[in-house]
Subunit: 551 residues, 2 copies
Amino acid sequence: MERMGSGVVSWLMRIGESKPGSAQDPVDNLAMFIILICACIITGHQLKGFRWINEPIIAIFFGLGTGITLLVLTGGKSSKILVFDVELFFTYFLPPIIFNAGLQVKKEHFFKNLMNIMLFGAFGTLISFFITSFGSKLFFETLGIGNFELKDYLAIGAIFSATDSICTLQVLNQDELPLLYSLVFGEGVVNDATSVVLFNAIQKFDLSHINAMIVFKFIRHFFYLFTASTLLGVAIGLLSAYIIKKLNFGRDSAYHELALMILMAYLSYILAELFEFSGILTVFICGIVMSHYTLYNVNTLSRVTAMHAFATMSVIAERFIYLYLGMDALDIEKWKAVSKSPGSSVGTSTMMLSLVMLGRASFVFPLSFLSNLLTKSERDKLSLKQQFVIFWSGLMRGAVPMALSYNQFGKSGDDNKQQANAIMITCTITVVMFSTVVFGSLTTYLIRLVLPPSDFENNTHSSEPRSPSSSTIDILPFLSNYTIQDLEEDDRISSRKISRLVLFLSSPYNSVHYYWRKFDNAFMRRVFGGRGFTVHLTSSPEETLEHSLLV
Amino acid sequence: MERMGSGVVSWLMRIGESKPGSAQDPVDNLAMFIILICACIITGHQLKGFRWINEPIIAIFFGLGTGITLLVLTGGKSSKILVFDVELFFTYFLPPIIFNAGLQVKKEHFFKNLMNIMLFGAFGTLISFFITSFGSKLFFETLGIGNFELKDYLAIGAIFSATDSICTLQVLNQDELPLLYSLVFGEGVVNDATSVVLFNAIQKFDLSHINAMIVFKFIRHFFYLFTASTLLGVAIGLLSAYIIKKLNFGRDSAYHELALMILMAYLSYILAELFEFSGILTVFICGIVMSHYTLYNVNTLSRVTAMHAFATMSVIAERFIYLYLGMDALDIEKWKAVSKSPGSSVGTSTMMLSLVMLGRASFVFPLSFLSNLLTKSERDKLSLKQQFVIFWSGLMRGAVPMALSYNQFGKSGDDNKQQANAIMITCTITVVMFSTVVFGSLTTYLIRLVLPPSDFENNTHSSEPRSPSSSTIDILPFLSNYTIQDLEEDDRISSRKISRLVLFLSSPYNSVHYYWRKFDNAFMRRVFGGRGFTVHLTSSPEETLEHSLLV
């Protein structure tokens, strides 16, 4: 036992002393990360009942703990244990999370909320971006920190506009508050896409001599990226549906169709990055399209597996990212550089946190007011309590700001910027840690405070909170996610047919939805498949399986 | 369209001109690989009926085609398009393939065949290793090629002893020839493990002054690695079963248990590599243990997903490896170095191919004879036709020899070895290409020739070839793989109980199996779960689901 203990210590020392970036022996780091992710999942399961703790916080603490252990074991020698690898994050860990989001989102609620989602996610993020940019410019120039250019301030605005709503989504229950959930969820994804697009546009454009023409071009470029990314996502999603429908893989090569789905989903992201679009937006849209068409062209088993497998990949990627964030917080060299002027560092972090809150508040409440003006139905309007939940869900900052910040300020550039760069990195680390741990741990408490369970019924037809172990259907979390609900949806749609004319006039969403349904059934499903269309699926034994699964 | 075409060309040129190893922008390469893997899967599906073509050949040709295209587009400038990344292969692509093998193997047949598997896989590989080593020593010294040391010849022996039985397994049908399939399959995995262990042992030991003591130590080390790897695999497999059983994840966090399974499977491989055991053997054993315990401690949906998801990962990894092999074949610099002495290069390749065949033949037939002597039951003896299939299945060489060869001869060492090193690399490429493409494409034809479908019944209780689309059960390829068969197995076991005494004396396998079953039921399943043991599973709705899936 003792020998084993000293073995572990010497192993950890080896990890600590290995240079970051030198990928000569990834086995050590891999083993450590895998053990830590397992520990996070197990601890997360054990601490499920605790109100103040959530999965990101657990992972961050595990990361911090490991980082400190390594630091102590190597006697502070390894000044950088791990440097946040921007590429690793954007190329391998973000895509599965976002794709899974697109695949699992309840399309009905998402599209019902589309106006609000775009309003908050795109327009709101722009407002937050401007406030953060000019707030930080004012602050830095007043205190005389660093020699930042306009470009840097705009980058700061983009960096700190990227929210991380994972904590909030863990608390909100999709079944209890479907509309609010889809709004927070959709806004989160659109927000990520918007801030990354903004950041890339800032890096690309020469903003030193700003004028109306450049601003116009910038806005045009922004909209171009948005549209192109969406179209690419739709195109690859439809292509995957078409190919898998045409090929009609047999039952014995079921994993071939699943492999194609995974590869094409990833391809959508990679192609978007290649064309310099927004991969986040593309892969999200691709997920939505795939969940509407492709998922129904594969056999039932592949369908269930796909949902389940993507959720699993997303879980692993999320834990990894938070662990990484925790370990990364100990970038000693940067902290040393900052320690010469501790005042300005604390000041900057406090200021950025205030700007984050200010930026968020200054669009959530006005835009909610605007949205309520445009909404006719009284029950679809956003109550003040719901507005608060939306406000709160956007306060956390996560891996995206971290990655963008390293991208902008991580390079060791000219000397007169180095101090300011170090301040920005440590400030980002502080904001991410503080918001995730402090704001994150308050989330459950606050949401249950403003939205007690009795408030839930005004948004859902079944107000009962589902008890996880009481019904048979619960063992099929993913199946029930789409089949049962979709079947219900179908029923509702057919029974509504008579009153279609009334709805037609009263609600713009419903009429658009009605025409989309018609077009979808008449043309799209004929070409791209989708639920219940293709003959060989309807009459096949799979329907029997699906039926028996639902009994 | 034209613009798009030129865009593709300039993109390919960019890929071609990017330096290998400089991982600055992986997006280009990733996009290319994903598109190619998709193309392989689609083409493979379309060409399913063709007898001379199989998946590895398609992937290799796609790889070669892309390599040539890149080479032409860059005007031969990019001398190395891709250098085989040994680490990438062993760390990321091999583990899922081997783990999937362990998970999907039919345990009953595997353990029934264990003696033969170890005989061919371990002892046979050693024979082949000695013949290849001393054959190449004789050849090189006679022709005076290179200044190789004994160590290099031994490495050559280990490199060319690693078979690749994927082609053969694609032709053999597990349901038609279960025992032969499990023998070829098991031998392939044990062979991989043996040759990698051998190779590592050779690199570690100082073999310049060989004597009896060193040989003894070498053999002891070899057995130590074998035992330690097996024990580690069992330990991690059991640990995963225990943890997942204890935690009893709810239905709503089904993907957490799946994530734990994936991570712990990978952990077994990584830990084995960390301790310098054989990761291949460890992860294979871990897969077997997990399929016996862990798979039954998760809910039915996770179980189905796990089987399906691992098979999918394996498919993607396999395609990737063969694509890589194809592209890698165009290592221009090495070919240029070799072109100074084309005769010795062709000679070496021919000699190595002959040695591969000789090495294989010289243990398959003698060991089959030995195995037949030890087997009492007439129907379990290996017929000459089956011996030929075993012989043939070990002629193909794949990614493992390639990786080992780059490891041994890929470094640019001292000058007087450089020519010989280049010859060995190109020789490995030639052997891998030739054996996979030529031997591989003959496989279907030859196996159908020596084992026509009428020969199949002597090995299986259900002799009917299953038609893939006729029965309902076929839509559940993975479920049926383990549940139905295992249920049958159970029935048979209980009905045999009376005649146990008779069997006890007549067959050593059955008596060992009987005691194992007793121990398994009395102790192992109580602690580690497994099929049908745990109460909360038996009485839960999942059993109902499982039942309805099987109806």
